[in-house]
């Protein structure tokens, strides 16, 4: 199940393509980094939205120059406590100025949702069974005081106390 920035369920137009699967005409697909590196010429010439699945061991800065080709970048949390993708997300947003969709995949749990949102994610693939039992939207509203500037537009306390 896919959630948006408000925690509401939304339709998912994206198909995650396996490395040996042909890209269907006109359909929005994501490919792995390996596939992108191998087939980028063919993928660039398609007339449809393209997304990239980045493993959490990849340095996103290496995508500089290409990053704007992607309408979606999916980052993975193999386990909720493997936090590498938080840094990847911030590098994509702040360093590379990536404006497309940024999706959290893998072990995406309610209690990490707000961290992800603040790090720059705007889509969350969550477990469908679990999703029904949880009130995801609530997770976004649990705090309204933040102690750091990040990739969302929430103000941080130092600036709230002393506006520039």
């Amino acid at each position: 199940m896919l959630l948006d920035k408000t925690g509401g369920a939304v339709a998912d137009e994206w198909r995650h393509l396996a490395d040996d699967e042909n890209a269907p005409e006109g359909e929005a697909v994501t490919v792995s980094l390996a596939r992108w590196e191998r087939d980028h010429n063919a993928l660039k010439s398609r007339d449809a939205k393209l997304g990239l699945r980045l493993p959490n061991t990849a340095n996103p800065v290496a995508l500089n120059g290409e990053v704007h080709r992607f309408a979606l970048i999916a980052l993975e949390f193999p386990r909720f406590n493997d936090g590498r993708a938080y840094s990847q997300a911030r590098l994509l947003r702040a360093r590379l100025g990536y404006k497309g969709a940024l999706r959290a995949t893998g072990d995406v749990l309610r209690d990490q949702l707000l961290f992800m949102l603040r790090a720059g994610f705007d889509g969350f693939e969550v477990d469908g069974v679990r999703a029904k039992a949880e009130d995801w939207a609530k997770a976004f509203g649990e705090f309204d005081v933040f102690y750091q500037p990040a990739e969302d537009n929430r103000p941080w306390v130092m600036r709230q106390r002393f506006p520039a």
């Binding site: 936090g83 992800m116 705090f143």
Partner: protein, 550 residues
Amino acid sequence: MYRYDEFDRRFLDERVAQFRGQVARRLAGQLSEDEFRPLRLMNGLYLQLHAYMLRVSIPYGTLSSAQLRGLAHVARRYDRGYGHFTTRQNIQYNWIKLAETPDLLADLAKVEMHGIQTSGNSFRNITTDPFAGVTAEEIEDPRPWCEIIRQWSILHPEFSFLPRKFKIAVSAATEHDRAAVKMHDLGLYIRRNAEGDVGFQVLIGGGLGRTPYLGLVLREFLPKRDLLAYLEAALRVYNQYGRRDNIFKARVKILVHSLGIEKMRAEVEAEFAAMSKDKLELPEAAVAAIRAQFSPPPYADAAGDDAILQRLTAAEPAFARWVKYNTHAHRQPGHAIVCISLKPPGKPPGDCSAAQMELIADLAEELSHAEIRVTHEQNLVLPHVRKAALYDLWRRLAAAGLASANIGLASDIIACPGLDYCGLATARSIPIAQVLGERLAAREEAIGKLAIKISGCINACGHHHVGHIGILGLDKNGEEFYQITIGGSDDEHAAIGAITGPAVAAKDVPEAVDKLIDTYIGLRQNGERFPETYRRVGMSPFKEALYAAR
């Protein structure tokens, strides 16, 4: 002292409400123990051998009287009437019930306290010199910087799931390091550069545990305005490249020592150069406002106090001894920094009853501008006491069993909770500390300054690696054995101790320690402390004394 403003208070209320929801979801079975574990850990709640343990954060070891009374209330209402001060300048409660923790945390929030990030793989409590702001040997007060880092590190959206925990210490003292800065994942020494500007020397990669390392210099001089941006750069490198395949190799020290400090520095500096720093630059007014909260209290004119104190110490030797070992020079004339020993020989190191906490809170209010500090040696400090008030203070402490005159001496032992409480321990620590404390107390003045540190397992919460004499509890086929290291030090001459030889059985530890001390006394020259003698003469005489007759 830093007092919460409306933002801090709102944040903490929100955090308490969030945890109340998480506990409710756990008790209702919506969260498995596996899923709940990291959530409770982020609030300082561990599951130990007999019960839940709650670790409460004491930011940079500073407490107000009201906060210490709050801690006493928690000990009485939710625990068995006592708490345990730790080597992290925090306090732990060992007998907590899960269902009561939301109310407990709500009570703590009333005195601006919490257990956030006292566990988990994120920033831990920021620590500093317990004499910060009152010692004369300081470039400036480090506490405003501790507070700035504390705030920035709360629920950080990028660094809450690091490879492993991350500990930061700050010190501004120029002669003594009372904050064990080199034993931290990241250490900051406030220093003045050749141009006269004040900034930070940044160290990285220190830590104890099963692979002890001292921190290495990452940046010789960092301007103050860049502090948070530079920390973010260093943490981003660690978050991306720190090992996650093996929990025992996940601390930043392993990354630093496998990459080499030059490569680590190149990575951090490259990140720092590329990142946008403007966002993290602190408004001048914000720094000034935080600094203002740490301005000195209104000291009384105490010009005549030295003479009064001299008269009283001359009249009463027991008081004189306490003044000698438990008080330190204060920057303000006629005042003293007072250490309250939580190491009465024969008692568990660092334990404090609710009644004792309340007494200390009252004494602090009356005699120390309502301020208390916690040291990483598990003692307490009254940072602003007039010398003329010391005698009264000493008598009232003595009546509560709090006047042990042993700060820095052999019975001032650091020990982790060990197998009496801890789920990780392989042997007991507290009984060893109790036996050694009682045995050594009688001759500790003759021995002089001596740091004995005991850990009940390889994780080294008792800092055994940096004890002059370090004792590590091990399990050998169900029996408790203790490995002894010597020559360690956690101060400005920081060093990792060396292993003397095969571990000894629990019953043989006191005799072994006696032999090491006798050897030291026999060999020391010109007032050398234990590690200095060890460095001069080497291991052999100690080894011989320990193992020759066996």
